[in-house]
Structures are given as C-alpha cells and as structure tokens.
C-alpha cells in the first residue's frame, strides 16, 4: 500500500511540479498515473523511491514514512521499471535480472532458481538466454527482462515509468496482457505512469488523472469514462470515451445482463467470437461487417448466441451509462 499525503514537489525557483497530491494505492492494485506531458506524473512516481526529494507532505509505504527509511534500503524494496528498459549492456541477462538479489546478498543457488522461475513467467528459457547480452535480444524481450528484473527480489511495491511506451503497438498489447497475467499471480502494489489512455484503461484498477501537478480525478477507469468530474477529464478522454469504456466489458458481461440475440440458422455467412472478448473490439468487428452474422462461442466452442450492434448499444445505454450502482465519489 502506498499513501500520498499532501505530497508536494517544488523546484528551486518556485516551479511546483506536484501540488498537494492525496491518494492511496491499495495493496495488490495497479494505479495508473495519467496525464499530458509535464503534468508531474513521472516526478510523482520518482518521489516514491526518493529519486526526487519530497518538498512537502509525505509518502507512506505499507504504513512506514518513506523518509524514515534508509534511501538505499528503501529502493531495494521497490521494483523499478523504466521505458528504455535500463538493462546494463556490460552484464548478461542473468546478471541483469539478479542485480537486486545480488545487492541483498542472496546465495548463488537461490539466485539461479529465482532467475529460472522468473524467465519461465515470461515464457523465455533461462538456460538459453541467461548468458546472452541485452543487445542480442529484441526490444520486446528486453522490456520483458526489465519487468522481471524489477520483480527479482519479490518487492511488495513496483514503480513502472511508461514501461511499454517504446514498443510497437502489437508487441505492446501482447506484453500488457502477459503482464496482467503475471500480476494476477504476484499481486504487487503497482504505480504505473502512462500517457496512453487505452493502456491506462486496460491496466488500471484505478486511474489518477493529473494536470499541472494536481489530481483532477481519482477513480476506476469506468467511472472516469462515464462520469468525468470536470471539463478537463471529459476532454482528456475524448469524444469516443463511450467506446473506450466498452473495452472494460466483455461479451460475457453483456450476456449476463441482457442476454444475446437468437441465432439465425438460415444465414450461412457467419464468423465466431469468444465470449471473453471485450466489447470494444467486438463492436469494431461488427462495424467491419466481415460476415452477416456473428456467433458467440465459449472456451469449449459451444455456440451461445448471436451478437449485433443493437445489443451492444443497448448494453452501453442501460448498463454502462445509466448504472446507478456505483456511487460517485467526491
């Protein structure tokens, strides 16, 4: 758990980068710091492991004031991933991943076991890649190594500064999925900086939207999309925020609430779609009109029903926009 308590950063000369920020990252959650360039999101992140000093207010990590801890010890307890992966070119992959365990004085055997386990998590062979050097790997592989390096000593808290920002869209999506899969297993408390709205919606349990060092809104992605607190939030997420909010729901959600359409056996031109697909991609597929009928199937391949644009629209209208169940905060 990370708690920001009136956290403020003022540079010499009076520029305020972070202005009285208050929020809590719950244990096991991913909170995404989102905002335009220069909004203070990276500064705020770097204040957690004290790469930036705190001018005023405080940050507590699992109940402990970050200033009360030794700076070096504090950093070793916090995983840190940066955009340009930060792998050291002079060290092999194994040496890179095992830096923090090494600093903490782990035994050789422990390190080897941990390394192989971490490599397994990202689907790479520890045997095959351990002795290689970073420049021999692809960008996507390097970034994955950067992520498991941060996980190496099993820190409860992780800081990620646009970790997937430098990757091409296809690889990025793949690694995001892979990371969410890992997160379901390891359940770290994660603070994640991004300027990509889609990424934020996908990764976040909650989003902190910042502007000029101030928090504009702190909410779940769906709340933010459906009920933006002010004009800035509304504009930031754009005119297509209704569509964006669809990416938070799957066909399964829709089926549970309003059910699917009946299948028309007479139409022969059909394609199938998995029930776990998100509604945004489903809608895109429907709009592409690749076939006359789209049939929803489950993991076993059983046909559950058909899906149409009308049904998605109905779901959007009644379930997402008008849902009164979520209490608005503030």
């Amino acid at each position: 758990m990370i708690t920001f308590d009136k956290t403020t950063k003022t540079y010499e000369g009076g520029v305020t980068a972070v202005d009285g920020v208050d929020f809590t990252v719950e244990k096991g959650n991913i909170v995404v710091l989102l905002g335009p360039s220069g909004c203070g999101k990276t500064t705020l992140l770097r204040m957690v492991n004290r790469l930036e000093t705190i001018s005023d207010g405080k940050i507590t990590i699992d109940g402990e004031d970050s200033m009360s801890l030794d700076q070096i010890a504090l950093r070793r307890k916090i995983g840190y991933v940066i955009q340009s992966n930060g792998l050291f070119p002079n060290m092999t992959i194994e040496e890179n991943v095992m830096i923090v365990p090494d600093l903490l004085g782990w035994k050789k055997k422990e390190k080897r076991e941990r390394f192989n386990k971490l490599m397994e998590m990202i689907g790479l062979s520890g045997e095959k890649f351990g002795k290689r050097y970073p420049h021999e790997l692809s960008g996507g592989q390097q970034q994955r190594i950067g992520v498991i390096r941060a996980l190496a000593a099993d820190p409860p808290v992780m800081l990620m500064d646009e970790p997937f920002g430098a990757l091409d869209p296809i690889i990025r999506e793949k690694i995001q999925d892979e990371f969410l899969q890992i997160q379901r297993e390891v359940k770290k408390t994660i603070l994640f900086v991004s300027h990509d709205i889609d990424e934020a919606i996908k990764m976040a349990d909650k989003i902190v939207l910042l502007r000029g060092g101030e928090v504009m809104q702190y909410d779940t992605p769906s709340e933010m999309l459906v009920r933006p607190k002010n004009e800035f939030v509304r504009e930031f997420f754009g005119k297509d925020r209704a569509i964006k909010s669809l990416s938070l729901h799957t066909i399964q959600d829709l089926q549970e609430v309003i059910g699917l359409a009946n299948m028309d056996e007479t139409i022969s031109d059909t394609i199938t779609i998995n029930v776990n697909h998100d509604l945004r991609n489903t809608l895109s597929m429907l709009l592409n009109q690749e076939a006359d009928q789209v049939i929803v199937i489950d993991d076993e391949g059983n046909k559950l029903g058909a899906i149409t644009i009308d049904i998605v629209q109905k779901y959007l209208h009644f379930e997402i926009k008008a849902k009164p169940t979520l209490v608005q905060k503030g």
Binding site: I82, F88, P89, M91
Partner: protein, 245 residues
C-alpha cells in the same frame, strides 16, 4: 569482388611494397649494423626508452583516471571546465617547449623527461575517461539508482565497465604517442633511443638514425598491438562497439 575490396588490396600492397623496399634498401646499405655491433648500447638505450614510457604512462594513468572519474561525479561537475582547460594547456604547448620548460624547473635528466612525457600523456587519457563516462546512457544510471545501488557500486559495476572501451583507447593512444615522443628525451639528457636518432641527425649517419628510429617505430606498433589484445580481454562483451564484435 567489389570495388572497395580491390581498392583496399591495392593500397595494402602498395604500403607493404614501400616498407619492403625500405628494408631492402636499409639492409643492403647495412644501416642496421649498429644494433648488432653495439648490441649492449642498443639494449641499454632500448631499456631506457621503455622505462621512460612506462614510468610516465603509469603516472599519467594514475592521475588522469582518478581525476576523470572525479570530475564526472555530480558534486564535482562544476570543476570540469577548470580541469579540462588545465589539461588542455599541457597539450597545446609544443612537446619540445614542454621539455625546455621542465629543464628550467627540474634540471636535466631522466626525471625531467618523465615529467614532460607525463604532462603530454594526460590529455588523451583524461579526455577519454570523461567522454567514456559521459557517453553512458543517463537512463542506465537512473535505473541503477532506482534499484538501490550505492554510488560506488554504480561506478564500478556500471560506469567503468561501460566506459572501459573509451578509457583503454585513450590509454593506448597516449602510450603509443608517448613512445614516439620519448625520442625527444635525448634533448634533456633523458637517454633512450633518441640518443642514436639525434646522433644520426648530427653526424649525417643514416646507420645511427635508422638503428634508432626503426626500433622505436616497431616498439610503438608492438605495444599498440599488445594494448589492443588487453582491450579485447578487459572490455565486457556486451558493451563493445558493434563493429568490434
């Protein structure tokens, strides 16, 4: 075979040809005879020459490296221009002038020669140390700090290994230059193979001239080769420039 390859073949044949012709000319005129007829003097001068180079180079490494590391530390950054300009000054004065200046301070002899050579070696070593450390991606240092490495660990595990190529190249340049410049030590009574070279010049004796100059050249080439081997051993595999791997 492409044009480039043909050209490089032609050029290397040409160069080797000139070298071969030179040696045939020199040997047929028995210009190398002094090396054998006065072999004890030759070996003494060679040893002296190597001592001049070794002592002055070691001193320069011992000063340039720590100073280069020091000025790249955050808290000493501001001192960099001062140090760089001071070191530059040492380089801009002509080597003969450095020698002459040193005579007025240290008198003549081995010490003076070593000191002048030392001053002359500082710049390439210092420059390359600073450039090597400066060229390291800021993000690497940020990542290292963020993971909880102490400054001393960052220096020895990240900065120096990744700057080693540049640092060693600086040392190699300085030492090779030094071998040539050490021939001037004769002027201040520092000995070395310069004794034969200058004797050759003064007596118009090609035999002395060549028996002094060629060993100096070969020594420089040999040491350059040795230091390249050392580089290959020391520089970590991952941080070598791509064309070298």
């Amino acid at each position: 075979m492409n044009k480039k390859k043909v050209m490089s073949l032609v050029v290397s044949f040409f160069v080797y040809g000139i070298v071969a012709v030179f040696f045939i000319w020199a040997i047929s005129n028995s210009y190398f005879d002094y090396i054998f007829s006065q072999s004890s003097t030759f070996l003494y001068l060679l040893k002296q020459h190597m001592q001049l180079v070794l002592v002055s180079s070691l001193l320069a490494v011992g000063v340039a490296l720590p100073v280069g590391i020091l000025v790249t530390r955050r808290s000493f950054r501001r001192a960099e221009w001062l140090v760089s300009n001071t070191v530059n000054l040492g380089q801009t004065i002509p080597s003969l002038a450095v020698l002459a200046l040193m005579i007025s301070i240290l008198g003549i002899g081995f010490k003076t020669a070593v000191f002048a050579l030392f001053i002359y070696s500082l710049l390439p070593m210092y420059r390359n140390t600073v450039a090597g450390i400066d060229s390291i991606d800021e993000n690497l240092i940020d990542a290292a700090r963020g993971m909880g490495m102490k400054p001393i660990q960052i220096l020895f595990r990240i900065e120096l290994p990744n700057a080693s190529y540049s640092i060693l190249a600086g040392i190699r340049t300085a030492v090779v230059l030094n071998i040539g410049t050490a021939a001037l030590a004769y002027v201040v009574g520092g000995g070395g193979l310069g004794v034969w070279i200058f004797t050759g010049i003064q007596l118009f004796d090609n035999g002395y001239l060549i028996s002094g100059a060629i060993p100096v050249t070969l020594l420089a080439i040999f040491v350059d080769y040795l230091l390249r081997l050392l580089e290959r051993k020391i520089v970590p595999k991952g941080s070598k420039p791509p064309q070298e791997t």
